[in-house]
């Protein structure tokens, strides 16, 4: 579904990703872990099309198509979704209007008719219930004055609305209390299917107790240096990252 080949990317001439390889098949959940500064958020930004990052070599394929030249919105139309570590506040645009616009712009780009208002409302109701979002919340300005937990729930609500093929959750667990974490994880688990894939970027093992990954990768210095099953996450939790660095030196 998503294949990243020997990806090198820099920001302001500083190379952050240094030959990253990753293959994610439909139906899989991958966790990407690693110490601060390893390049985790850069990976999320590069895949979703943030222009400050320059891809110097390598390629990103979505269902076999090279998406490197596509803008962020075109990648979204093709099914890439990024749950932001720091969702942006947009005063004056309500959650509902934002979602309507996003869905209809995506449908337009795919050559589909706009979604009928009745279907839209039904879908909004259904998905907001999934994330235990109060209906009053939907008429508020996007992310403005939301708590950390509300922002993250709102991100997963958007994911539920947009039904992406590949969802990248960038530090979705940061700033969440245990209840919010459970709601968010439950939402993601319900959205998982054999036709989509989820990449969970996280610093801690905590979220992975709820969203159980098929594969765990360790990102260090711009490369994936170790891959394994969910047991690797437990090992990292227990021993930290230093032993991997030692292993690499050896």
């Amino acid at each position: 579904m998503l294949e990243i080949k020997d990806l090198h990317a820099s920001v302001e001439d500083k190379e952050i990703l240094k030959g990253l390889n990753l293959k994610v098949n439909a139906g899989e959940v991958h966790a990407i872990m690693g110490p601060n500064g390893a390049g985790k958020s850069t990976l999320a930004s590069v895949v979703s099309g943030k222009e400050e990052y320059e891809v110097t070599s390598g390629a990103i394929f979505l269902e076999g198509e090279d998406i490197e030249e596509l803008g962020a919105e075109e990648r979204a139309h093709k099914g890439i979704f990024l749950s932001f570590q720091y969702p942006v506040e947009i005063p004056g645009v309500s959650v509902t209007n934002f979602m309507k616009t996003a869905i209809n712009e995506t449908r337009k780009a795919r050559g589909q008719e706009e979604m009928p208002a009745r279907d839209m409302l039904k879908k909004i109701k259904e998905k907001s219930e999934l994330l235990e979002i109060d209906s009053k919340f939907l008429s508020r300005s996007l992310n403005e004055g939301f708590s950390g937990g509300e922002k993250k729930r709102n991100e997963i609500f958007q994911m539920a609305m947009l039904e992406p093929k590949v969802a990248i959750l960038d530090e979705t667990d940061s700033g969440l209390d245990i209840d919010a974490l459970r709601i968010v994880a439950n939402g993601v688990n319900k959205l998982k299917s054999k036709d989509n894939a989820v990449i969970v970027i996280t610093h801690y093992q905590r979220l992975l107790e709820y969203i159980v990954p098929d594969f765990v990768h360790v990102l260090h210095d711009g490369k994936i240096v170790k891959s394994g099953t969910k047991d690797l996450a437990l090992e990292l939790e227990e021993k930290g990252y230093d032993w991997i660095k030692e292993e690499l030196k050896a």
Binding site: S48, G49, K50, E51, G71, A72, E73, R75, A76, H77, F81, L82, F84, P87, V88, E89, I90, P91, G92, V93, N97, F98, K100, T101, A102, I103, N104, E105, T106, A109, E114, S141, Q158, L162
Partner: protein, 437 residues
């Protein structure tokens, strides 16, 4: 010949077509003298520091229309809010078009200034109100000297106008460059209500210079909503002078939607002569090209317990320039005044300019006054966030701009007008986005 000299010397010809025995004509003669003394405003005047009329007044304008032109409604329908049941006062090159208008004398008077100035039955109102609210400067004196046509609206006590009134000025360009000087008088007696929509539209590539004066009088508990749509061609210059006098518990709002034209100067003045008054001044300015819009506002709080609310939003692209100069005066008598002013601007290009200047003169000690002004850019991180959800850059920018201007757009009370303004903005931004506002 300089425009000023041309105007002064054409006064004799003007007199041949008006009733020189009327007291109005004495006012004109005095005003002409004043104009001769003032001349056109120059950048040396503090209030005109950022707006120059030099490029406008060097043109050779025809001052009086030579021929009467008829327009078919279907050709100009798009400039009306045509799905709104309304009275209409329409002028073509400064001449009343009965064909396009819909006036009334049923309970209220919605008609022509020329009738009001010449017919005896309007004399009691004209004698009391005409030329009493306006403050004299070069531009208003010039208008007063040549004033003979415009809209006359009179709403007697305890009457709410049954529908809004559209005032539209068309310029056809048939005589080449033209100067127009409409003069409007709107009198709302105690407990009356009216809503007015005004538009100036140049239909040709020829230059038009409009120097308009509107006097508004709101009696006790009167309610006036005035909407100005300024979306003219880039060969049009408008100097709009609007003066509002308010009495006890009256509420007056003026919305100015400045989307086009070459040079537009709005002199918007409110004088509060009673208690419990609310004055509302809202504006949305969206410009590109070399367009220039200058909002020059004045609110004079003369009595206690009154409020004023000013909210001006501006979005400037390419080489456009904007000015906001907002003056609030709180007289010593005007205790418990609440006066708010905010001017927020977004620059989309590094060649666009905004000058924002709040001026507060407060002589009372128990008042709440606030003002704030911001000048910034569109939020790049918000743009990326929206794009990552599938909203393309152009639409994302438009959505952010709508959001930025939203509280002013939301305060438009006529749904058809709101729809129209949203459409004008969408057309300007080249988007067609299906979200409601």
């Amino acid at each position: 010949m300089e425009l000023k000299e041309k105007l002064v010397s054409s006064f004799l010809a003007f007199e041949a077509n008006v009733d020189t025995t009327s007291p109005i004509h004495d006012i004109r003669i005095e005003a002409l003298k004043s104009f001769e003394a003032y001349g056109f405003p120059t950048k040396k005047l503090e209030a005109w520091k950022y707006t120059s009329l030099n490029s406008v007044i060097k043109n050779d304008f025809s001052i009086f229309p030579k021929k009467e032109i008829a327009l078919e409604f279907k050709d100009v329908k798009k400039y009306f809010i045509s799905d709104l049941d309304s009275y209409k006062i329409v002028f073509i090159d400064g001449v009343y078009s009965s064909h396009l208008s819909e006036t009334t004398h049923d309970k209220i008077d919605v008609c022509l200034m020329s009738s009001a100035l010449s017919q005896n039955r309007f004399k009691p109102v004209i004698d009391v109100y005409y030329n009493t609210v306006v403050k004299e400067d070069g531009m208003t004196a010039l208008n007063t000297a040549f004033a003979k046509e415009g809209a006359y609206i009179y709403i007697p006590k305890n009457i709410a106008a049954d529908k809004p009134i559209q005032i539209i000025h068309f310029a056809t360009g048939v005589d080449g460059a033209a100067m127009l000087q409409p003069r409007n008088l709107i009198v709302c007696e105690d407990n009356s209500e009216v809503t007015i929509i005004e538009r100036h539209q140049n239909l040709s590539e020829n230059k038009v210079f409009t120097n308009s004066v509107t006097e508004m009088y709101a009696g006790n508990n009167a309610h006036i909503d005035y909407y100005k749509i300024q979306n003219d061609t880039d060969t049009s210059c408008l100097v709009d002078n609007t003066f509002t006098e308010q009495h006890n518990n009256s509420v007056c709002s003026v919305h100015t939607f400045a989307f086009g034209g070459d040079i537009t100067r709005n002199n918007l003045n409110f004088y509060q002569k009673g208690q419990g008054i609310d004055s509302i001044l809202n504006g949305v300015t969206i410009l590109e090209g070399k367009t220039h819009v200058d909002h020059n506002t004045l609110v004079e709080h003369q009595e206690p317990n009154c409020e004023s609310h000013q909210d001006y939003k501006g979005i400037f692209d390419e080489k456009s320039t904007g000015v906001f100069n907002g003056k609030i005066i709180v007289e010593q008598e005007a205790q418990k005044t609440n006066a708010f002013q905010s001017n927020n601007n977004i620059l989309l290009s590094d060649k666009a300019t905004v000058n924002s200047k709040p001026q507060l003169e407060i002589f009372a000690d128990d008042v709440k006054c606030s003002h704030g002004c911001t000048i910034g850019q569109l939020d790049e991180s918000a743009l990326f966030y929206m794009r990552s959800r599938g909203i393309a850059t152009k639409e994302a920018k438009a959505l952010l701009m709508y959001a930025f201007a939203n509280n002013v757009l939301e305060s438009v009370k006529i749904p058809q007008l709101k729809t129209r303004i949203n459409k004008i903005i969408a057309d300007k931004l080249g988007v067609n986005i299906g979200f409601d506002l």
